[in-house]
């Protein structure tokens, strides 16, 4: 796939098409890094804006904009740690025990929120590569072949790592007493 920016409107159309095609993947990888949906969305949008600026600057054509976007998103996700630390101290402020503080949960959602918090903290203990797999598998419903394509690994490895990650997760959730979401 070749990305070549022509005049203004076709370029915007191509930009939107790329966003529609790959935006969720970019979000998923950013989410897997921080387990924070809002931050992941910010990172995904910033990655796409950088693609636009890249076009505007008249830089060389991107042979594989998807790979470029995923790489930029990963770098941005790493930088996010530093910026969040600089702005807010040691912990990102929008997260409180895995529940996004911007969306206060009503009382009847508390059990669900607690279950999510337990899953989230368990996911955080997994290696980042496993979180990538799980996020692509469960947030985007990707099969092993699609995950392999995004991550640049082979499908057999995806199967093995997914199975292992699921098993590890099940053990931890069992130990915590979380086996279902209310």
């Amino acid at each position: 796939m070749k990305s070549k920016p022509p005049a203004a409107d076709p370029r915007r159309a191509e930009f939107e098409a790329l966003y529609e095609r790959h935006g969720r993947e970019v979000w998923a990888l950013a989410y897997a890094r921080w387990m924070d949906a809002d931050a992941a969305l910010d990172i995904a949008q910033e990655a796409f804006l950088r693609l636009w600026r890249h076009w505007e600057a008249g830089a060389e054509d991107l042979q594989n904009p998807r790979a470029w976007l995923l790489r930029v998103a990963r770098n941005l996700a790493e930088d996010y740690a530093k910026s969040a630390f600089r702005r807010n101290g040691t912990t990102p402020p929008a997260i409180l025990n895995g529940v996004r503080s911007r969306d206060p949960q009503p009382l009847d959602d508390m059990e669900r929120a607690e279950a999510f918090a337990a899953i989230r903290s368990t996911l955080e203990e997994l290696p980042p590569g496993d979180r990538d797999l799980l996020t692509l598998r469960y947030a985007l419903d990707y099969d092993a072949a699609q995950i392999a394509e995004v991550l640049g690994i082979n499908a057999t490895a995806v199967h093995m790592r997914l199975s292992r990650a699921r098993q590890r997760l099940a053990d931890k959730l069992t130990a915590q007493g979380t086996t279902k979401i209310p």
């Binding site: 804006l49 799980l134 979401i181």
Partner: protein, 108 residues
């Protein structure tokens, strides 16, 4: 004691969790008009300033030139220059030659 969840239960747990985290509705592509530089900006961002500076200098020079009075052909304005003030004017010489004037002004 808690039972170990089956694969299906783990699938359902993770599915519910990640689906809940996923932004709904998925937002549109970010706006690019804020970051789209115009053609003029890419050509020369200081062109406007340069034109303003050139116009200011032109007005200043033109103003000075006008005030110094060169617009009447270089002769200056009436009553200001040395017009009619040449030393060989007959009227002046006659006045100087009258006897009541004792000074030697104008005599060779």
């Amino acid at each position: 004691m808690t039972n170990h969840p089956s694969d299906e239960q783990v699938d359902r747990l993770l599915g519910d969790y990640f689906k809940a985290q996923f932004p709904k509705p998925w937002p549109g592509a970010p706006r690019t008009d804020r970051v789209q530089p115009s053609v003029a900006r890419t050509a020369d961002p200081a062109a406007r300033s340069r034109w303003a500076l050139a116009a200011s200098v032109a007005v200043l020079v033109g103003g000075c030139w006008y005030l110094s009075g060169p617009f009447d052909g270089g002769k200056g304005r009436k009553g200001v220059g040395l017009e009619g003030g040449s030393a060989d004017s007959k009227a002046v010489l006659k006045a100087l030659a009258e006897p009541k004037t004792e000074s030697k002004v104008g005599m060779p």
